[in-house]
Symmetry: C2
Subunit: 501 residues, 2 copies
Amino acid sequence: MAGEERAKAGRRPRAETPKGFRDYFGAEVTGRKAMLDAVAAVYHGHGFEPLETSAVETVEALGRFLPDVDRPNAGVFAWQDEDGDWLALRYDLTAPLARVAAQHRADLPVPYRRYAMGPVWRNEKPGPGRFRQFWQCDADTVGAASVAADAEIVAMTAEALEAAGIARGDYRLRINNRKILNGVMEAAGLYDPAAPDRHEAGRGVVLRAIDKLDRLGEVGVRALLGAGREDGSGDFTAGAGLAAGQADIVMAFLGARGADAAATLRGLAALVRGSATGAEGVAELEEIAALLEASGIGPERAEIDPSVVRGLGYYTGPVYEAELTFEVADEAGRPRRFGSVAGGGRYDDLVRRFTGQAVPATGVSIGVDRLHAALAARGAAAAAAAAAGPVVVTVMERGRIAESFAMATELRAAGIRAEVYLGNPRNFGNQLRYADRRAAPVAVIEGPDEAARGAVTLKDLALGARLATAASLAEWKARPAQREVARADLVAAVRAMLAGG
Amino acid sequence: MAGEERAKAGRRPRAETPKGFRDYFGAEVTGRKAMLDAVAAVYHGHGFEPLETSAVETVEALGRFLPDVDRPNAGVFAWQDEDGDWLALRYDLTAPLARVAAQHRADLPVPYRRYAMGPVWRNEKPGPGRFRQFWQCDADTVGAASVAADAEIVAMTAEALEAAGIARGDYRLRINNRKILNGVMEAAGLYDPAAPDRHEAGRGVVLRAIDKLDRLGEVGVRALLGAGREDGSGDFTAGAGLAAGQADIVMAFLGARGADAAATLRGLAALVRGSATGAEGVAELEEIAALLEASGIGPERAEIDPSVVRGLGYYTGPVYEAELTFEVADEAGRPRRFGSVAGGGRYDDLVRRFTGQAVPATGVSIGVDRLHAALAARGAAAAAAAAAGPVVVTVMERGRIAESFAMATELRAAGIRAEVYLGNPRNFGNQLRYADRRAAPVAVIEGPDEAARGAVTLKDLALGARLATAASLAEWKARPAQREVARADLVAAVRAMLAGG
C-alpha cells in the first residue's frame, strides 16, 4: 500500500476533508434527521412517494452543463468513465426527477407525486457557510396541469413546516403567479404574447428589481425600474429604463396586496385588464385560494403576495415561497430575520428535452440547512435535550466489567440510553472526564465494597454541573449530586435522577 | 442550453441512469429506511453517535488507491479538481472514519463510538444485483483496546437484527479470534511469532481453505490443505502443501466446537497449547463469552465458532459474523440460505497512516441490501402493508375539486393517508385506473347527486381485488365493494373499510 509506504517514509497523508466539504457529528445528524422524518411523514400522508435516485448521473442527462465541451465539469463534479462517457454528481434533485420521469414514464402513475431528500454537490468556490455538498428536500407533482397541484404543494409545505417544529405564526407562505407578472408586463408594454421572446432582457431587469423590494424599499425599486441606482458605496446599477407610466404600473402591482385574498385578487384583475395571460393568472390564484381554504389553510399561513418573484426564466405559472417571520440575534447580537426557507413553483418543461413532449410539473424545495438552523435557534432547549449523552457505567477494576455490562443492559432494557466505559479503567478520573465529554447526565459507580453491600453509587452529573455554577451552600447540601442506592433499585433511581428528582 | 438545442435538432439526450446505477422507488425507500431507523435506535441506545462524512474524500486520505498514479481511479470514482488534487467518492465507511479519527482526534471522546449509514461507490464492473452505488451501515469503537468493545458490538448486532425484524432463532452470530488462528498456525509450524511475516502466503492459502468449509465440507478443505483439489468441472486449485500432521491440527481446530462455549474454549486452549498468541486469543474469547452472558445474549444468539475467518490480512483479534439461518426459495424454487448479513472484527491499524500512532478499533458492517431482501422474503405481508397506497379522493367535475380537497384534509387529519386525483377529471375510468396503480385501498366518490343528498360513495378497492379473484356469488352479494355513506360519516366509514369491516 502506497499510504503505508508513505507513512514509513515519514510523509503521511493529510487527514482532511477536501476543501468545501465537512463532516456532521452526533446531534447535527440526528436533529436534521428528526426534522426530515417529520417532513417526510407529511408528504407521505399526502400520497407522495419517496424516490431515491443515484448520486451519479450522465452529464448528458443532467444537461445544463453540456455547452463547455472542453470543461464539462464547470459547476458540477464530473469525470470520464472507461467508455469515454462523462458522469457527474447531481447538482440538485430536479434534474434527476426529469430523467426519472422520462425513463420510467411507462411505469409511473400520472400524475406522479414524489418527494426526495439527500445530498447534492456543486463544484463552486466554497465560502463561510457555503459547502460543496449540502442537503435538499423536494416534493414535486409531475403530470398535473391543474393548479390544484400547486395548491396542494403550498398546503403541504405549511403542514411540513409545522411538523418540523416551526409554530404557526412563525412562518408565512406567499404565493404569486408568473402569468400575472406577464400580464403586468403586457400592460406596461414589456411583453407581447405574439412574440414572447421580445423584451426578455428588459423583463429580467424588472424582475430583479422587484425581487429587491424587501431590501431597497419602493424608492430603490422605482430607481431600478427607471434610470438606475447608485448604492451607498458609489456602485451604480443600470435600470430598466422604463417611462414613468410603465414604472407606475409595475409599482401599482407591487402595492396590490389588499386586506384579504379577495381584495388582492380584485386589485390584480384590474391591473392586468386586457391581458388574457394576466386574467388566466388571476383565475388560477383564485382557484388556489379556494383550495387552500378547503384544506384548512387560513391567511395566517398562506397568502397571495404580488411581490414574490422567485428567480428568472424557469417558472411558468404559480410561484410560492415560505419565509420565517421571527427574528434571531446574529453573531453581533443584532436582530436578523431568517427569511426564506422554502420555495418553488410551476415549471412545465421538465421532460421535454428527453421525450419532446411537454409535461406540466410543480414542486417545492426546502432549504434543509437553513430550516435546521432556524429550528436550532428557536428551540435551543429541545436541541440540547436531543444532544444529551448516555448514562455512563464506570468500571472500577477490569475483573468487574461483566457487572458493568449487566447494569448497562438493564438500563437499556428500560429504555435508558447507557454505555459502559471501554477505556483503561485504571485511572478513575479519566472515566469521569470521559462521562463529562459525552455529556452524560448520570455516572454509575460500583466498587467492590459497594458490590459487597449490594449497592451502587449514582453521580448526578447534570445536577452537579448546575450546582457548580449556581448553587448556594444550603442547596448544595440539600441536593447532593452523588447518592448510594440499592443495586436492585438501579433502574428506578437512575430514572428518577434523569427526571431531575 | 445545449440540451434544448439538441432536442430541437432531433438528437435528444438519453433518459438513463449510468451503467451500474439504479433508482429506488416508494416502498423500497421506506422499507430500507424503517429497517435502518430500527438499527440506529439500538446503536444510539448503546451510546453510539451518528457520523455523516462527506461523500467526497481526497484520494490521498482514502489511501488504498494511490499506487496507480496514471489511473488513480481504478476501483473508485475519482477526478482532479482545479488545483490538481485528486478527489474520489468514498468506497466504504471505514476509510472516512479513519480520516475523521485522525482529523478530529483532539475533539472526540476516547473511546469514540460511532455509527454511519449511507451510500458508498465502487468503480467496478456492474453485474446482476451488483451495483456501483449501494448502502452500508457500520458501527465501530475507536480507541478501546479491551475486547469488551468487541463483546459490545456483537451483543448490539444481535439486538439490531432483532429490532430490524429478524426473529430470535432466525439468525446466529458466530465469533472467532484471529489470535487463535495464529496459535493454531504456530502449532502447525506455519507461524513464527519472532518472524510474523514468514509463511504469510501459506497461511493465506490455509485461511482461504478454512473459509470454504461450508461449501466444500471437511474432505474438500483437507484436500486444499494438502496437495490441492480438482472441482467437478476439472479445474484444479493448488493446495497449501501441508504435511498430514499439520493438516490434522487445522482440521482439529475446525472441529473444536463443543457442546457449549466453555467446552469449545477448553478444546481450543488444548489445541494452541504452547502458543502465547493462541492462549491470549482463548482468554479474549472467554472474556467476550462472559460479557455476552452479562448482556443477556445467550448461545442461541451468539456462539464461539472456530470456522469463522472473515477474509484475509486486516483483522488482528476477534472476528464475528451474523448469518441468517432460515431458508427461502430462490427463483427456481430451490431452498436457499441467506447466509451472512453482517460481519466485522478488530483491526488495530486504523489511524496509523495519518498520525503514526496505532489506534485499536473494532466494528461491524451490516449488508444493508441483503438484510433488506431477507426481511422482504421473511415478512412479505408486512412489506405489502407498508406499500399500501393512499385513499384516493376522486373529482367528479372540475368545479367540485375544493370539496375533494376538504375530504382529503379531513381524512389526513384523522391520520389516514389520502390524496386528491389531480389529473383531468373528465374521464372517470382514468381515475379508477389511477387509484388501482397507486394500490389505493379505498376510492372516495362524490358526484353532484350524492352531494345534494349529503352523501359520498366509498369503493373498497382492496376488497374488490380480493372478491374478483376468490369470492363466491354469495360472498360477493353479502359484501358489496361499494357503499354510500353520509358525508358526515366519511372518516369513520373509511376507517372501518381500511380495517376490513
